[in-house]
């Protein structure tokens, strides 16, 4: 009897202790969320409403920065075009390439671990070195790719030196670097329950049918995840412009992040760059919302899966 009466008190005490431990453990993450994520996001919008070049007091400007961006800026629309084009080509290429590789590596083939390491390897190389190296591969007269093209009788291409070629050339590098997508796809494939495949096999489905009706639906949440994340990552592309193209030729690789960097850190137009950042945020938001809106119709969730 005594034990029963005391139990709720002990339980409350334990719960309080548990809560205290949890808050203690979450302090660093919470500081991160507030001070390096959500507050700076609000600050970007706030700053974009002022005129400020890094010194003195900011002067209220209302929507002037935005008006200027949309009516007078010579680079802004080019930068949106370059960013969206790059993201679409890279995401499409990266998704197809990494899904194909993951499917191949998921079969019973010899030395799987070795090949997995090979396909992942480019991802662990430092980006700056990768772009320097590829710069030489794309070299017009003595580079690897023009050598290979000449072997099959195709005339020399300019690759990153031409305004038409620069985005596809950079996208090839990005696809080459997409080892992280392969790993996540592989993880997903290995989590597809075997019983589904066995059941389908007993029903007489061939491997193509099994791929299309078992593998793809069970993989759809992971396909969605990879699609979303690689879209968000690739929209933020900046390193190739910093390391390789300086936004050129013309403005054909002047990505939004790069434009923002140029305005903020080379020209001290800080509040103006914030306006670009905020439009950039909205643009990525629109793509994210579209993806989420369409996802309901093609993502297949396992019943009772609450993860």
């Amino acid at each position: 009897m005594i034990i029963l009466k005391r139990k709720p008190k002990i339980r409350n005490e334990l719960l309080r202790k548990e809560g205290r431990t949890a808050y203690l453990l979450l302090i660093p993450a919470f500081i991160g969320l507030v001070f390096i994520t959500y507050l700076p996001l609000c600050a970007v919008f706030g700053l974009s409403l002022f005129k400020w070049e890094g010194i003195g007091a900011p002067a209220w400007a209302g929507m002037a920065n935005y008006v200027r961006l949309f009516t007078k800026d010579p680079y802004f629309f080019d930068s949106i075009k370059a960013t969206v084009l790059y993201a679409l080509v890279t995401v499409a290429g990266g998704m197809v390439w990494s899904l194909v590789i993951a499917l191949l590596l998921n079969r019973k083939i010899p030395a799987r671990g070795f090949f997995r390491a090979v396909f992942y390897l480019p991802y662990v190389l430092p980006a700056m070195a990768v772009y320097l190296g590829w710069n030489w591969l794309y070299e017009t007269n003595y580079g690897l790719f023009n050598f290979l093209l000449s072997q099959i009788g195709v005339h020399k291409a300019m690759f990153i030196g031409s305004s038409k070629g620069v985005i596809p050339s950079l996208a090839v590098i990005a696809v080459w670097l997409s080892g992280n997508l392969i790993v996540i796809f592989l993880a997903g494939l290995q989590n597809v329950p075997r019983i589904y495949h066995e059941a389908a096999e007993i029903d007489g489905a061939n491997s193509w049918q099994r791929f299309w009706h078992v593998t793809i639906p069970s993989m759809s949440p992971i396909i969605f995840y990879n699609l979303l994340m690689s879209l968000i990552v690739n929209m933020q592309v900046v390193t190739p412009a910093l390391a390789l193209t300086n936004g050129g030729p013309g403005n054909s690789s002047c990505f939004m992040s790069y434009l923002m960097y140029l305005y903020a850190f080379r020209n001290s137009k800080i509040s103006y760059a914030c306006a670009i950042a905020f439009i950039f945020f909205i643009l990525i938001g629109i793509f994210t919302v579209i993806l989420f809106a369409t996802s309901k119709s093609w993502i297949f969730y396992e019943a009772g899966d609450d993860k």
Partner: protein, 286 residues
């Protein structure tokens, strides 16, 4: 009849496996080709580099190129500087992500749903957007320009939502009975975390460490904006400067590139056996 069809299906499966293997070998060769080409270029002299048709193998393996490159390219200083950022940041990120992941996976507290949604929601936010306010905070607010702090401290704040999520998922696969047994033995939550959970989630922590390593390794933009003097340059900044100073000495540039490839490859080879397992076991289903 049925037996026959199973047999033929088995045979078909085998053919598909053989074809897959051949395709994998070809694609792997294709993926390695750029790395080989860069490496082979780093061992040639410039005269051989500008020869037509180019050859796949250097006529003489000029490892002396590396010694020559090191005269202009202070690789060891850059490596030391890069590691000064990476080592504390990777440790800080892994530890704080584990702390947060444990709280989300195991503990009950008020506001858990809300904080967790804030955390997962931040995965969708492009970090590029926050760059300018953070720059203002670190330089104008805290006067930390030209130091490594702005590149290190953020990693002590949870190490990123994805990593927290990864750790949380991994902890959820560990049977609760283990914790409960320890509770009965009188262990508190902190002891459970350090003595039961941490040893059990080592693969996930290694994955997080490697992911953080790669993120920092690749973050040229932030390194450029926070670091101004050449004695503090990282490998990434050093390479971008080096390219500008030696416009067409391609064999030296390729040697510098290959040197910079090495640390990542070494780190990856150490961690790689845990790598896919780590992600597989978390059951990446969200």
């Amino acid at each position: 009849m049925k037996k026959h069809s199973i047999k033929s299906r088995k045979r078909q499966e085998k053919t598909v496996n053989i074809i897959s293997f051949v395709v994998v070998v070809l694609l792997a060769a294709l993926v390695m080709l750029p790395i080989w080409w860069i490496f082979r270029s780093s061992l040639m002299n410039n005269a051989e580099l500008f020869q037509w048709p180019p050859s796949f193998f250097p006529s003489k393996w000029l490892f002396s190129n590396y010694a020559r490159t090191l005269e202009y390219f202070p690789f060891w200083t850059y490596l030391k500087n890069t590691m000064t950022i990476i080592i504390p940041a990777v440790i800080g990120g892994t530890v704080t992500a584990t702390m947060a992941g444990y709280a989300f996976a195991r503990l009950r507290f008020k506001g858990k749903k809300f904080i967790f949604s804030l955390c997962i929601g931040s995965m969708l936010l492009p970090t590029m957007v926050m760059l300018i306010p953070l720059y203002i905070m670190w330089t104008k607010g805290l006067h930390l320009e030209n130091t490594y702090w702005p590149l290190i401290i953020p990693y002590f704040c949870g190490g990123g939502a994805f990593n927290i999520f990864l750790i949380r998922q991994f902890i959820k696969t560990i049977p609760r009975e283990l914790d409960e047994a320890a509770t009965i033995d009188g262990a508190g939550h902190m002891r459970i975390l350090t003595q039961i959970i941490v040893p059990a989630i080592k693969p996930a922590m290694i994955v997080v460490g490697l992911l953080l390593f790669i993120t920092i390794w690749n973050d040229l933009l932030q390194q450029i904006i926070y670091i101004n003097t050449s004695d503090k340059f990282t490998i990434a900044i050093g390479l971008s400067q080096f390219k500008g100073s030696l416009k067409s000495d391609w064999s030296a540039i390729m040697a510098a590139t290959c040197m910079s490839f090495l640390p990542g490859i070494i780190f990856y080879l150490i961690g790689q056996k845990y790598f896919v397992e780590g992600i597989v076991m978390t059951g990446m289903k969200n």
